[in-house]
Structure formats: structure tokens, C-alpha cells
Amino acid sequence: MIHQADPTQETFVLNMGPQHPSTHGVLRVVLHCDGEYVLSADPVIGYGHRMHEKMGEIREHRGFYANVSRMDYAGPLPFAHAHVLAVEKLLGLEVPKRAEYIRAMTSELNRISSHLLWFGAFLLDLGAFTPILYAFDDREIIYDLLEDLTGARLTYSYFRIGGVCRDVDDKFLEGTKAFVKRLRSKMPMYNDLVTGNVIFRKRVENVGHIPVDMALKYGATGPVIRGSGVPYDVRKVEPYSVYPEFDFEIPCFTECDALARYRVRMAEIEQSIRIIEQAIANLPEGDYIAPKVPKVLKTSGEVYQAVEAARGALGYYLVGEGTQNPYRMKIRPPSYSNLSLLRELTRGILLSDLVAVMGSFDLVIPEIDR
């Protein structure tokens, strides 16, 4: 738009997406720019909207298994975890310990695979091509392990109300043990390759500064708030499942920038490895699904069940009406709130920094659109 009185005041509109590679899916960002500087960035969402909440309301509880993994395709097991926990809470159903251990173990594997995908994609956004090849090499092993166990590589319907649908076998446990050992030995290589790289540091250091208060008022969670110095992790602050039985830490960095968010995720991989090792070592004997799950799941009352997904706090708000399907199902995805602060955060920053900031959020668009 050319300024009538003073042509040097010219600004222009740049349309980023919905097919841009660094928007990670069908997200469009309308940018008002002054040269290389972003005056305002407005995310336009909803291109992949499928009304999962309505599907949840018209289907029975068990009919929603397939939906959960189609929201956050990079880390679907925590999404399934929150759903089954919420319904079990409404039913007052006791879940065998072994089932909860398996759920925690597979969720953590999924968290690692999600972080590896983010690691590769984030660096790809910044112009580094090699890291994604290393990350996908390791991620592939997780997918093979989970495929053997669940029957699916991406869209798992593994968790059941009352437990999981299939017990873990020795092949899975031995394979997982070998994998975490391998990944732990490779983490120093990842850090050598990227963390200290001077080009990488120049792109992410002091970029996208999110103070604690901004994270609180926008509801940003996960690595975003942990990169701002608040050790908020649902697994520790509001423990669910069997997480209180594991010894692990919540990585937290106080720099508030994109590098801090990068470091949080890299440190989280190590913590997830610790949880998996403990889960394998202490895996209790017993049932993998509750022996007496009622055939007809009639639910009433309300519950808000939160879990820590790969991208932050995920919540299911269920209201039952005494029938087999919920009267209201609200899904609170973490990336939705994380992305909503983009407009305030990116006012006045460089266009290239915007890409670094969005990459550091680890966005998964189908989870935002639902």
C-alpha cells in the first residue's frame, strides 16, 4: 500500500502459506511488512477443520478412538491417553497397572518421535538440510517398534477404555531397550551437529522473546512456557496415570527465546528415555486391559482431563448425559494457544526471524484446526 503523502512509508501485504513449507501444514499467515520487517502477522486457521468435537458428540466413546490420532499426527498417543483417562474418570473405572505402564512407555516413545520430527523440520526451516536425515533415521526405528505393537505407523488406535488393546511382547521390550540405548549414545552427536553451530545460534538466540506473563495470559504451555523459565509440565504439576512413580526432571530454561525452546525439547528427549527405561525395568505383571469393562459405557457428570502432550498441555472437557456418547466434548489442543500469541510476539521482527519463531513453536496444524 503506497502512502499518499510520503511514498517512503510504503508497506505491503505478504501472504505466507497456506502451502508454504515452513507453516508445517495448511496454515496461512497474512503479513503486513515494511521492507524486511513484520508490522503484523495474522494467522488464518481452519483450512483443515473436520469438527472432531461434533464427531465425538454423535459417536459412542469407543467410536472416537480413530479420531484422536488424526488431530496431532506427530504425537497421537498422548491425545489418546487424555481421551481414555477422561472417559475412565467419568465411569470410575480402575485400570490395571501394567496397562498404565504400557501407556506411559508408548506415549514417551511417541514424544521422542515427535521431538525428532520437530528437530528435523525446525532446522529445515532454518536452511539446514542434513539434521532431518539423522532425525528420521532414528524416528524410523520408533515407528517400526510401534507398528509391531499397535499395527499402525502413524494413526494408532492402541489405547482402549480400561487399558490397551494388545500386550507388549519381548520383541518390543528388547527393541525399545536397544533403541533408547542407541538414541542416548547419539544425543551428543545431535548436539555437536547443531546446538553449538554458529549459524544456528545466530538465527535463534534472542529471537522471539516470550516473557512469563505473555505465556500465562495466552495460555501457552509445553516447551514454550518451559523455555520461559516456568517448570510447568502436567506430568509433574498435576500428575496422572503412573507418572508419579517415575524419577525424571522437567527441563526448564530461562532465556525465553527460540534457543531456549530448542534446548527444552532436546533435554526432554533424555528425560523421556529415562522414563522408558524405568517403565521397562519395573513393568508389572498382570492384565493389560481391565477384566470387567462394561459393554455399554454410560457416562454422566463432567470432567476436565489434562495431560502433557508433545506440544504442551492438552485437555478434554467431557459432559456426559447418561448415554453412550458425551453430550459435549471440548478438546483443548496445546498448539492452538501457542500460536495465538504469534501476533503480539512478532510485531516488528524480521521476516526471517518469524520463520525461526514459528519453527520453535513446533506447530501441528490439524491439531489447531481439529
Binding site: G46, Y218, V237, R328, K330
Partner: protein
């Protein structure tokens, strides 16, 4: 800030109906029923207490309920806030100036339920198509519609009260 302190602070506000919720059953610690007049005051107190906004949505029943969840980032303390509004003329005050994170949640609630948030800076559709302003997919049909007192425990005994406010 612990649940006890939050209850104490909220009890000081006129017009809020504050009670302790059963955490084991609902995973919430504090249950607050606000009126459209006191809703913003409630949000201000919660914001001062340093709580994080988790979600804001509505439940289509009679009367319609706008419900929002907040949580502490340091301890187990989840606050649920409710406002009962008229289903035929759903208007609720905005809290998007107090909690900017509520901005998108309110727009989404407008998309799905047709709730008009008074004072909201931009009520254009967020998730549904831009021209979709009169279709609200999560509204219940007449035969599916239930009374709020049949759904939510806290409204069950105070049935008359809910009907009066409607």
C-alpha cells in the same frame, strides 16, 4: 496460589457463587458460577492470581453455559468459571482484554454456538469459513437439547435457581 487462597479471594467478590469442587471426580478444584455482570471481575481476580488460561467454550443446554478453565502452573489448582446465558439471545461479556488468549477461544465459541461476546475486538469467524455467520454446528436440535440441571452436578439441586436466571 493454592485453591484455598483462590477461594478466599473470589469469595470477597460480590455476586460470585464460589464452591470447592470434587477434584477426584471432576479434576477441578474450584467451581465458580458468575453472572454476566461479575464475569469480568472474576477473570480479573484470576489473572491477578497468575493463573494460566486453558480453554473457554460453551455447552448448549437450557440455559446455555459459557465455561472456562484456568490452572496454576505451580501446583494442582484448576478453576472452572461458568456463566449462564439465554439460549435465544446468547450474549456474554468478553474477557479477551484481560486474557488475550481468550480471543481465539471466544471467536471459536461464536463459530460453534453463536455466542456473541460483547466488547470483543473482532468477532469474524475463525475456524469456519468467513461467510459462515449463521450456521452453528455444535448447537443441539430440539429433541437432543437437555436441561443443564440434568447434566452438571452443581445445578442439580438448585434447579429453580437456574431457571430463574434464564
Amino acid at each position: 496460589m493454592s485453591a484455598k487462597e483462590i477461594i478466599q479471594k473470589l469469595s470477597a467478590v460480590q455476586g460470585l457463587d464460589v464452591c470447592e469442587a470434587d477434584y477426584e471426580k471432576t479434576r477441578c478444584n474450584v467451581d465458580v458460577l458468575a453472572t454476566p455482570e461479575t464475569f469480568r471481575e472474576f477473570a480479573k481476580v484470576i489473572r491477578e492470581a497468575g493463573l494460566l488460561i486453558e480453554s473457554l467454550t460453551a455447552v448448549d443446554a437450557v440455559p446455555m453455559m459459557v465455561v472456562c478453565h484456568f490452572t496454576s502452573v505451580y501446583e494442582v489448582c484448576r478453576v472452572v468459571g461458568r456463566v449462564l446465558i439465554d439460549r435465544e439471545n446468547p450474549v456474554c461479556p468478553t474477557i479477551s482484554d484481560i486474557y488475550p488468549g481468550a480471543n481465539w477461544h471466544e471467536r471459536e465459541t461464536r463459530d460453534f454456538f453463536g455466542v456473541n461476546f460483547e466488547g470483543h475486538p473482532d468477532m469474524t469467524p475463525l475456524i469456519l469459513p468467513e461467510d459462515q455467520t449463521d450456521f452453528h454446528p455444535l448447537r443441539k436440535s430440539e429433541e437432543k437439547l437437555k436441561n443443564l440441571s440434568e447434566l452438571i452436578g452443581r445445578f442439580a439441586p438448585a434447579r429453580e435457581e437456574a431457571e430463574v436466571s434464564e
